[in-house]
């Protein structure tokens, strides 16, 4: 962190502002130069953007204070001395727990349930929508947990990553043939959604810690790849979820 010399407590605020800045610039350029119409509900938009900035800053600040140091030291501890069974259990729990708390996934699952209700695929009651969204998130979390187990096994056994990825792709292609059309888009999207704010730092810590504690493993090349699995398995599992639900 050598970019800016600011008090530590302001760093998350600056980061989330910087995350939003490109969006604000692109959108306002288009509004002013291309569309040339005022945005409806501008006040709500500005309030919402303020909320996003405050929320994301607090969220990241909180993660850095509590979850990340503990999670990372635990990941290292398990990677170093854990028995295989405990290590795999921890890997699964870490993937599952971080995915359930992932903000982008919460948002997308909610949106998906609204779309499904509007298309009368599920009941349009608040209850049914929440159940659908929660089901989606638990499915994704389960698949990320399994992906991290697979990734940890790969690091321990030294399996080559590309064969696993190729196998994963082939599975996805086969399942797509049988999945209902309505779920395919959400399934493919969920692969990219799962891995952002919380999951990546903790899971990478586990991977790199594991690779550096094993003999003959290079943390640079073997520590990565966990995220890749975590973006593959949700696609399969959400399609299976769709086959069950629809």
């Amino acid at each position: 962190m050598n970019r800016l010399r600011v008090p530590i407590s302001l760093q998350p605020l600056l980061n989330s502002l910087r995350d939003l800045l490109p969006i604000v610039i692109v959108v306002s350029t288009f509004q002013l130069l291309v569309i040339r119409q005022p945005l409806p509900n501008l006040l709500d938009l500005l309030l919402g953007i303020l909320f996003v900035v405050i929320g994301l800053s607090l969220f990241v600040k909180g993660l850095e204070m509590g979850l990340f140091p503990i999670g990372q030291s635990m990941a290292h501890a398990f990677a170093r001395k854990g028995s295989l069974g405990w290590l795999l259990l921890f890997a699964f729990a870490l993937g599952f727990g971080t995915t359930i708390a992932e903000p982008a996934l919460i948002a997308i699952a909610r949106e998906a349930s609204e779309i499904a209700a509007a298309a009368q695929l599920i009941h349009s009651s608040e209850d049914a929508m929440q159940r659908y969204a929660l089901g989606l998130r638990y499915t994704v979390a389960l698949s990320v947990g399994l992906a991290i187990i697979l990734g940890v096994m790969r690091i321990i056994r030294g399996w080559p990553i590309h064969w696993l990825i190729v196998g994963g792709y082939i599975c996805i292609i086969i399942i797509t043939e049988f999945a209902p059309r309505e779920i395919i888009g959400i399934a493919y999207d969920s692969g990219g959604v799962t891995t952002s704010t919380i999951t990546v730092p903790l899971v990478t810590a586990l991977g790199v810690g594991l690779a550096s504690s094993l003999q003959g493993r290079n943390p640079m090349t073997d520590g990565f790849g966990l995220i890749a699995f975590a973006s593959l398995t949700p696609i399969m599992f959400v399609m299976l979820y769709g086959m069950v639900i629809h």
Partner: protein
Amino acid sequence: MNTLLGLLHTGMRTIWDLLPIALIIFGFQFLYLQRPVPNLKKVLLGFFYVLVGLAFFLEGLELALFPLGKTMAAQLTDPEFLGIVHTENIHWLDYYWVYAFAFAIGYATTVAEPALLAVAIKANEVSGGAIGIWGLRNAVALGVALGLVLGTWRIVTGYPLHWFIISGYLIVLIQTVFAPRMIVALAYDSGGVTTSTVTVPLVAALGLGLAHNIPGRSALIDGFGLIAFASLFPIMTVLAHAQIAQWRAGRQPLSSPEN
């Protein structure tokens, strides 16, 4: 007042979202590692921040980013804005501003993404300097931008999503065979990290808005998929970039610790 109530409501629900990770962290700490949590006060305060932050963030999404994506989609596909008289047969080329917006938003958000910078620095280290930091960031941002253009074009035309994604996989598979080995895991990882928490909702809303506004499309079948494009294309561009870097370096295989 309504906003405040919404915030409280979201806050209550957020507790359930954070419960699993809290249980896991504290559970493993006490049961397996059998250590007290260091700095317990600070950790609990951190969890409180995470809770409040998540509630604000989700409310902000509903207020700003989702409506913004949908409004942009509605405005950019408005026949009046595009100067279209006959709405029954619109050519996909008529929606050129949609593609321009998709490209701009994809490029701008990716190039500024901090997670990508971290990946680029690692790639630079792994490749022994052959892969430049700026070159890689540029390539990935271009990949996301092109991915979103193709993704919006697919929504406009209504072709099945899996044709595109599966062909994309096949290209990635072929690239994997020829790419330097130590970049492979990193390239696959880069697909997931380029779409940040802020970009995902906006892009999703854009897709849903497009599918809603373009005649003959359904939000359920055509609306999703943009994020998939945005996560797949960076893998291609990172692999391509590594291949070009290797080729430029005189066709000498980059040293790989695995071999």
